[in-house]
């Protein structure tokens, strides 16, 4: 059994203390870090709950329940930020990436506490694979919303559509990983080039 709430407390404590020592305008990044980790913690509980509810086995839960739950949980703090603070596109994009990266970090830490840290090569591949996958899912909002940011109804519609895109990307990744063998290797190596593609496309769009 993994006491992930204990891991969360341990991870969050220095961030909370750091928050207290920062000025009001400098706290945003740390708050999103905490939000990402909190979303990961809550996702773990919800995943277990829905897997029990639908009597899903481990593979079905990983490929059909976890992507939906995790991506919705990651979007919630961003929706709150968007609705309450009406940020600029650049700030929203930054928030999306921080939430995604901290979510991935917390997930990796939980993986380490469960499986140990003795296989550096596998951990390196998994760390970059899963980490990049979550960042790609966070980047979807930043990369695609720019052309429609000025139109509120279009932005709202696209936000929902992009949540679905993030879910399906995550689900494809989990499906390949759960298959093992070559598909698993492909899954670990796909997110990093996808992240680079996003970067290239964003540069081209800015040019």
């Amino acid at each position: 059994m993994t006491y992930i709430e204990n891991v969360f407390v341990c991870m969050a404590a220095p961030l909370v203390v750091a928050l207290l020592s920062l000025k009001r305008g400098q706290r945003a990044a740390l708050v999103f870090c905490l939000a990402g980790m909190g979303a990961c913690l809550l996702s773990a509980y919800l995943n277990t709950f829905f897997a029990r509810l639908y009597q899903a086995d481990a593979v079905n839960a990983a490929t059909q329940i976890a992507p939906v739950v995790e991506e919705i949980m990651k979007l919630l703090p961003l929706l709150f930020f968007l609705a309450v603070f009406e940020p600029t596109f650049a700030r929203f994009r930054l928030a999306a990436v921080i939430v995604a990266a901290s979510f991935a970090t917390f997930e990796n830490i939980c993986f380490l506490t469960q499986n140990g840290a003795d296989q550096i090569l596998f951990l390196l591949i998994r760390g970059f694979g899963t980490g990049a996958m979550h960042v790609v899912c966070g980047n979807v909002y930043g990369g695609v919303l720019r052309p429609v940011w000025d139109s509120r109804p279009l932005r709202a519609a696209c936000l929902f559509a992009l949540l679905c895109v993030a879910i399906i990307y995550h689900a494809i990744y989990n499906l390949l990983v759960s298959a093992g063998g070559t598909p698993q290797l492909i899954a670990y190596f796909v997110p990093l080039p996808t992240a680079l593609c996003f970067r290239l496309l964003a540069r081209k769009a800015e040019a």
């Binding site: 490929t63 059909q64 429609v148 279009l154 679905c164 399906i168 990307y169 494809i172 298959a179």
Partner: protein, 207 residues
């Protein structure tokens, strides 16, 4: 096996459409091309997930149809594209023929709800009904004003919606996993119609 080839061919066709639409967007930087790219991209991701699931697990998803979310996202982008293309005059125009959309869609919606998930069907049928409504109104407006700019686009949207409903209805009365099943005829036709969006949007944008 035929289901796998059906989805694979559809995925390849939609991916080709995605590449062509992306190229057109990077060249012109026009919003309709961007939304068409998103439409193709999301549709392709949904089809890819389904194809991979069939390939790797030899069965359709058992707990939740994650692909439906991607297809739902593609309808959102198609609706956004339809609303982006129409004229101010067309937006104000009214015609009784629009009511054909709910008359056609609502009975089918009732059928789907008795066999599937309520929320997903509400979203799917609601979005496709809005699309059909806009396309009917657009076709009538094009005839009234003798402006053929969007006629082909609206025709393609209507064909797309009609085939989607035919597919869903055929899946409610599943015959067999062979080519005798009308589901596969409709799906191969749908693949062709999906490719027609490219020339239709080109005509709408360039006219």
């Amino acid at each position: 096996m035929i289901e796998f080839w059906d989805y694979l061919s559809q995925f390849l066709a939609v991916t080709a459409g995605f590449c062509a639409a992306l190229r057109a967007y990077l060249k012109s930087r026009e919003q309709p091309w961007f939304l068409l790219t998103c439409f193709y991209g999301t549709f392709a991701l949904g089809t890819l997930y389904w194809t991979l699931h069939l390939l790797l697990r030899q069965e359709t998803p058992q707990v939740f149809y994650v692909s439906d979310l991607a297809w739902l996202a593609s309808y959102v982008f198609l609706l956004a594209l339809t609303l982006t293309l129409l004229d101010a005059g067309e937006r104000q125009s009214r015609t009784g023929l629009c009511w054909l959309a709910p008359v056609f869609c609502l009975p089918q919606f009732v059928l789907y709800v008795t066999r599937g998930d309520l929320l997903l069907n509400v979203l799917m049928c609601g979005l496709t009904m809005m699309l059909a409504w806009c396309a009917m109104r657009g076709l009538v407006w094009a005839k009234r004003t003798e402006n053929g700019r969007l006629r082909r686009f609206y025709g393609t949207v209507l064909a797309f919606i009609a085939l989607e409903y035919a597919l869903w209805t055929a899946s409610c009365f599943w015959v067999s996993d062979t080519l005798t099943n009308p589901y596969f005829w409709f799906d191969f036709l749908l693949t062709l119609v999906l490719l027609l969006f490219l020339p239709a949007v080109r005509k709408a944008v360039e006219a």
